[in-house]
């Protein structure tokens, strides 16, 4: 979850800002969990890219499936939660799959396929071992630069 603090609010005159928008120079991260940077390009002519920070993987899926836009880039930033490393690591994402985790088949799951070919899932973006791919949700990047990963199992 992203956290704003009053001392970092940046004043933008209402005349040049979208209604009800608030602007910030700095945000905090309240939880030690993965978050996402999503860039999309509207399908309107001469559209610029819009970049979103998203705290939940389900919001990523909501955005890519509901926006009338092409997904140009998706990055996750996740904490090191095992071993001696501290801090965060990041991966560019190439595909998103709806999936089933055999350990919790009653809960819908998501797999994020990294540019390194690895499957990641969960709030810490752990390696997704044993997950079953059910349905391709989205491919990321210009169509001619994205090769599909291995077929659904």
């Amino acid at each position: 979850m992203f956290v704003s603090m009053p001392e970092y609010q940046f004043y933008i005159p209402p005349e040049i800002a979208p209604p009800d928008a608030t602007y910030w120079r700095t945000l905090g991260i309240s939880t030690c969990a993965a978050w996402f940077v999503l860039s999309v390009r509207s399908r309107e002519p001469d559209a610029l890219l819009d970049t979103f920070l998203l705290a939940w993987d389900t919001d990523v899926v909501g955005a890519v499936t509901s926006l009338d836009a092409d997904v140009e880039s998706l990055l996750f930033v996740a904490p090191h939660v095992r071993g001696r490393k501290r801090g965060w690591f990041s991966r560019q994402i190439r595909e998103i799959w709806a999936a089933t985790d055999p350990a919790e088949p009653e809960n819908p799951a998501l797999i994020f396929v990294g540019e390194d070919g690895q499957d990641y899932a969960g709030i810490f973006m752990d390696r997704a071992h044993g997950f079953v791919r059910d349905r391709l949700v989205a491919r990321v990047g210009p169509a001619d630069s994205v090769r599909p990963s291995s077929a659904a199992t």
């Binding site: 956290v3 933008i12 928008a21």
Partner: protein, 145 residues
Amino acid sequence: MFFTFPSFEYVVPPELKQAGETRWRSFEHMGQGFFVAVMTLSGDPPEHRRTLLMTWDSDLVHMLESPKIAATLHSLHYVSPCQSGAGEPLYREVREIRRGIDRDAGDVEVITFKTADGTAFCGQDAIPVPPSVRQDRLLATIGPR
């Protein structure tokens, strides 16, 4: 700069957050920024990891020079597609942050960054470091993860 709208607020009971803070599920981001994880010497527990997303290099330096910061654990520099010139976002790990001065600009203070791929840039707009910049005090070194 980050911006958001009331519909993206995530309401948390006041007793579970610090005074004044507001929690959000989503922001839109313009321009460039730094995703920084630091180990602080304040708070509860006294030494804990804190992660911030910052758009101004001056805010970043102000934080790094605080006596409450014990270590910088991770710093990722982000450049939006519009600014990167490549049509897609640019992400690069920052390995070193220094203060310096630009002798051709009246000794104005600049902040310089060196990334894992060997690139050096400075300032709010992440321009290449000009030869006139003299790099002085080392503010942070960040090892590979």
